[in-house]
Amino acid sequence: MAAPKKAAASTPQDKTDGGSPPEFTREQELKALRDMLLIRRFEEKAGQLYGMGAIGGFCHLYIGQEAVVVGMQMALKEGDQVITGYRDHGHMLATGMDANGVMAELTGRRGGYSKGKGGSMHMFSKEKHFYGGHGIVGAQVSLGTGLAFANHYRGNGNVSVTYFGDGAANQGQVYESFNMAELWKLPVIFVIENNRYAMGTSVSRASAQQDFSKRGASFNIPGKQVDGMDVRAVKAAGEEAAAWCRAGKGPYILEMQTYRYRGHSMSDPAKYRTREEVEKVRHDQDPIEQVRNRLLAAKVSEQDLKAIDAEVRDIVNASADFAQHDPEPDVAELWTDVYR
């Protein structure tokens, strides 16, 4: 593929803009609140089911990071693809995948998105353009670049949103992908979810360059640091990046500065950070509380907000019920889907 000739473009490495991000309409605020709440309540329920032994293996919760996927999804169009790593429940719910199907996959049941054969880290939805769900740290970055390659090949105007963490950002194939994405001007937004810890290793102990928006600098990929706890900032940055990609200018990096409240996985001893640190972020920056407070300030009634809470709880409770009562896969499923 011939790389388009490019002018010596400057590579913006914007910090988060000083001012507040563009305001949301009331409808946008309500949608953001509802979608983030759904993820949080879902994840809390998943944690509970894990504790009860209903969910096995690995289970990586997204609590605290909800504004990232919800804000990005608000910036996308139908047809844009999403791909991520193993902390994927929030991404799936944000793309509109059914909570029952996700929860039933967590419990390994036949109604799960992968018929119970993938589990927490391996789910997909062609219909919702969700390409997984990948358990090998960093592998989704090359795959997501491949989704963008396909968009470019077909000329369909779609963008691949490729999520990975601050830990995955140190994998070699990430930079192989950056190189090809910029060389071929592929429409891919690399969303680096910097939640400050790669499992138990803080960014400062693992990363020589801790400003992840600069990780594409040597490939001339523009990057931006974003307040990933503010859903409005995420959406605005996502729109800017998507417009860049759709204009044929190639990839864009968004470093989402976020935080996970729970451990890396359910078996995390949490010895690498203090309770106080977690509590401070929860208290000062919680993405859901930010929206709730703005809505209350805008005179939305407590009752209206409670109605959203109730709707979300019903969905989550129903999914937990479904996931515990749906049968396990038929034993014949052991041998299916190896080839087609």
């Binding site: 090359s142 795959l143 396909a150 192989e176």
Partner: protein, 460 residues
């Protein structure tokens, strides 16, 4: 005394080549390092640099001459003060060979294959080819190229990507001409970044495109094996059948010649271990074409193991509009009743030579070309062993956990009562591939070892 310039070898295995062009005329001054001529094989074109200074005295081999043997004097160079009258004094034996242009870098070049045709002493007609079909003689390289070109004409979702596949025309010239026909959008030169472009290919395939990913050699695919196995092979299962990928990973596999341990490994056993992958390893030109077309159409990830030594071998390829060899079917290439020899890819070279030798001693070997390693055509092997009662496997890879070990186990499981002798494996020796010519030869299997093994199982 005039200096002779000899026909250089592009590689240790090159025996002859064409003198394509003279870039200097008789009487012209020559400095060390000047490019004086171009030579070519079916694989590559190379410049001949002078290593001596003087005047080009006489061109002994005119341009356009084909099949000039390596070390044939092609010109004489007169040193300062010498004249044409001195030409007669040129020494008869090799004085100084001109050297081919810069020695092959590990990534860029590897030895050209032997020009000799493969001993395709095919006794059994291929049941996939209708009787009376017109045949064309092609190299395996050309057969592979035609397979890709035909499938690319047929389906706009098929594209080829890899290192040097486009403008260079393929490191081994397998993709020759594809860029010219299909353009840069569908014939894509990648950076040297196997892990990354394998992942890009798999990601594109997940959306329904059908990539052909060329590895310059499968030795380099070890960089990419995570994407091949964890992403390509497992996704269909992990997604409950929702999302898989139709993708071909192809390139030369196994030993070439004199490229030592890091460029000579046979990955047959590695990939054939993996559920979710299909693994194909053809030996003949017809199979190379028919199976590659089948691989490109297959909705699953297919590992297509070629062999560099075989690229230049010629064979008869059916002239059919759409010649497909189904994946998963072995072929009895030579029928016999005394011993079954099972091999694939370049292992067939040893197997067929051995069968010829054995026939002289009255042992009729049945030779099976497996063609596909996964799914393995166990039935064809078992039916043969039930007839012969004896089996030998031949592979260039290592014996431990190898394909021969798998075949032996299947024979034991399915035809134990028919065996008159334990199965014997002929394989590559249990060492990294050495560089020295004599050691390399010892490390690889040989027809003599196959003969010995066959005689052993026949108690002869």
């Amino acid at each position: 005394m005039p200096i002779q310039v000899l026909m250089p070898a592009l590689s240790p295995t090159m025996e002859k080549g064409n003198l394509a062009k003279w870039l200097k005329k008789e009487g012209e001054t020559i400095k060390s390092g000047d490019v004086i001529a171009e030579i070519e094989t079916d694989k590559a074109t190379m410049e001949v640099e002078a290593t001596d200074e003087g005047t080009l005295g006489k061109i002994l081999i005119p341009e356009g001459t084909a099949d000039v043997a390596v070390n044939t004097p092609i010109a004489t160079i007169l040193a300062d003060g010498e004249s044409a009258a001195d030409l007669a004094k040129a020494p008869a034996p090799a004085a100084k060979a001109a050297e081919s242009a810069p020695p092959a870098a590990a990534k860029a070049e590897a030895p050209a294959p032997k020009a000799a045709p493969a001993p395709q002493a095919v006794a059994e007609p291929d049941p996939e080819v209708p009787a009376g079909t017109e045949m064309v003689t092609q190299t395996i390289r050309e057969a592979l190229r035609d397979a890709m070109a035909e499938e690319m004409r047929r389906d706009a979702d098929v594209f080829v990507m890899g290192e040097e596949v486009a403008e260079y025309q393929g490191a081994y010239k397998v993709t020759q001409g594809l860029l010219q026909e299909f353009g840069a959008k569908r014939v894509i030169d990648t950076p040297i970044t196997e892990h990354g472009f394998a992942g890009v290919g798999v990601g594109a395939a997940m959306t329904g495109l059908k990539p052909i990913v060329e590895f310059m050699t499968f030795n380099f695919a070890m960089q990419a094996i995570d994407q091949i196995i964890n992403s390509a092979a497992k996704t269909l299962y992990m997604s409950g059948g929702q999302m898989g990928c139709s993708i071909v990973f192809r390139g030369p596999n196994g030993a070439a010649a004199r490229v030592a341990a890091q460029h000579s490994q046979d990955y047959s056993a590695w990939y054939s271990h993996i559920p979710g992958l299909k693994v194909v390893a053809p030996y003949s030109a017809a199979d190379a074409k028919g199976l590659l077309k089948a691989a490109i159409r297959d909705p699953n990830p297919v590992i297509f193991l070629e062999n560099e030594v075989l690229y230049g071998h010629t064979g008869e390829v059916p002239k059919l509009d759409d010649f497909i060899i189904p994946i998963g079917k072995a072929r009895i290439v030579r029928s016999g009743s005394h011993v079954t020899i099972v091999s694939w890819s370049n292992g067939m070279t040893y197997a067929l030579k051995a069968a010829d030798e054995l026939a002289k001693d009255g042992i009729e070997a049945e030779v099976i070309d497996l063609r596909t390693l996964r799914p393995m055509d166990t039935e064809t092997i078992i039916n043969s062993v039930k007839k012969t009662g004896r089996a030998v496997t031949v592979e260039e890879g290592w014996a431990q956990s190898g394909v021969g070990a798998e075949i032996a186990a299947r024979i034991m499981e399915n035809a134990f009562d028919y065996l008159d002798a334990p199965v014997v494996r002929v394989s590559g020796k249990d060492v990294p591939m050495p560089y020295a010519a004599n050691l390399e030869k010892l490390a690889l299997p040989s027809a003599a070892e196959v003969v010995e093994a066959a005689k052993a199982v026949c108690y002869r």
